[in-house]
């Protein structure tokens, strides 16, 4: 068996998201879904209830007067946003582990992932464009492949980094040479298997190489640059550091100015704590 096949086989054995999350996702996928019924399903699970209320009351997602029931929270957040948040709270626990092989202490990868997600959405606001609704969740999930490799499969990333430095190639190219797969592709395959919607899977798959995406996608562009910005700030950075290649085409397409990029860096430092705490404290 090749190293790639071995990694894929082990990764596919990782358990799916917690049951309450799967139930909610299945229900929202139903075309007749209604908010009242959905509120009941969520209220059945204390962890999910706390998460939904905290998100609706957070200044980043909600804002305004406090809501105290799941139904009110759903009205404020809307079905689309809720869907994203439920996925996020289902998958976030995976990012809380220490990713030893990738030089990350417990919580650091989650912090980095939150930084990517917040940067992607903040960038859209800064540019005056409307981020597709799945942007935030996709940003949060882009590093899930690192969790799988560095934590579940105990891959040691040090030789990967050495190879990347020696050959002056990007970290994910070196992952491919050594492991036969990079963390972006592996993450996408896992999320696909879990039935996560295709637009999110595609952002995860192409975020390091957006130029290879078969179709242009604003969310992908935003997350690509959001990831670059998060890496530069150093928040939750692993041993792979800045060993990645930003796409000039994406920077040109979004028409970003250096000032706008700096504004996003400042904003993520201010906002990351609130979002991280919501995802960190409530285990499902």
């Amino acid at each position: 068996m090749s190293r790639r096949e071995e990694i894929l086989q082990k990764a596919m054995a990782i358990p799916n998201m917690p049951m309450p999350v799967q139930k909610v996702l299945a229900y929202i996928g139903n075309p007749d879904a209604d908010l009242r019924q959905l509120a009941k399903i969520i209220e059945f699970d204390p962890g999910l209830t706390v998460n939904v209320l905290r998100m609706a009351n957070s200044s980043f997602f909600g804002g305004g007067a406090k809501v105290s029931t799941v139904k009110e929270a759903l009205m404020r957040l809307g079905l689309g946003r809720l869907y994203q948040l439920v996925i996020a709270s289902g998958v976030a626990p995976l990012a809380r582990y220490a990713i030893k092989g990738y030089g990350l202490r417990p919580g650091e990868l989650l912090e980095h992932s939150v930084a990517v997600a917040v940067a992607s959405e903040t960038l859209a606001r800064e540019l005056g464009v409307t981020a597709p609704p799945y942007t935030f969740t996709a940003g949060l999930l882009v590093n899930i492949g690192k969790t799988v490799l560095g934590s579940f499969l105990e891959v040691d990333a040090a030789p990967i980094m050495t190879l990347a430095h020696e050959r002056q190639i990007s970290f994910e190219q070196a992952e491919e040479l050594i492991l036969g797969i990079n963390h972006a592709e592996l993450g996408a395959l896992l999320l696909e298997k879990w039935g996560i919607p295709t637009p999110i899977v595609n952002v995860v798959r192409y975020r390091l190489r957006p130029d290879e995406s078969p179709e242009p996608d604003l969310a992908l562009d935003l997350v690509h640059v959001g990831d670059v910005i998060a890496k530069m700030t150093g928040i939750g950075m692993g041993i792979d550091g800045l060993q990645y290649m930003p796409s000039e085409a994406v920077f040109a397409r979004l028409d970003i100015s250096p000032q706008q990029m700096e504004n996003v860096m400042v904003a993520i430092l201010e906002q990351i704590a609130e979002v991280r705490d919501i995802l960190m404290e409530n285990t499902l």
Binding site: T233, G234, I235, M237, I239, G241, L242, Y244, P258, E262
Partner: protein, 157 residues
């Protein structure tokens, strides 16, 4: 005691047993200052080169090279350090591979530092900047020794 300097943060100490440390320097600048005579040590972790808007007071001066570093050095003077004795060492300012110059925040950070030092007729005695590696920077307040760690290796600066 190890004292952590966060992103956009600064710490000064005159306790010899302290170690000032800052983690995860990506494109950010870490600047260590040490006065061996007064035994005063300072470490700052700046996110960006310049606070641009002069009209609004800066919420956190340590976020920027041009506002944070003067404030750190003034704080150190307040604890007995002198300009003649200050030893300055810089680390960080990394860059993504092939990123275009206008988005190379690391290069802008080190350029802003050098300009600031030039205007004040001061200089760096050592620097470990650029490249793609993440850096952790430690300043030992007993001797002023600086240790940079990255990817499981450590070296003195």
């Amino acid at each position: 005691m190890e004292i952590v300097v966060n992103i956009s943060d600064m710490k000064v100490t005159n306790r010899a047993r302290d170690i000032l440390v800052t983690h995860a320097l990506g494109s950010c600048l870490g600047l260590a200052a040490y006065d061996p005579v007064a035994g005063v040590a300072g470490l700052i972790h700046c996110l960006l080169p310049l606070a641009r808007d002069n009209k609004v007071p800066v919420k956190n001066p340590f976020m920027y090279v041009n506002t944070g570093i003067p404030q750190m050095i003034r704080t150190m003077y307040g604890r007995g350090a002198t300009r003649e004795n200050l030893v300055l060492k810089a680390a960080g300012c990394g860059r993504m591979m092939h990123i275009s110059n206008q988005f190379d925040t690391g290069a802008s950070n080190i350029a802003a530092l050098k300009k600031l030092l030039q205007v004040n007729e001061m200089r760096l005695s050592a620097e470990d900047v650029g490249g793609t590696i993440p850096r952790t920077m430690r300043l030992f307040a007993d001797t002023g020794r600086i240790v940079i760690s990255s990817c499981g290796r450590s070296w003195e600066l």
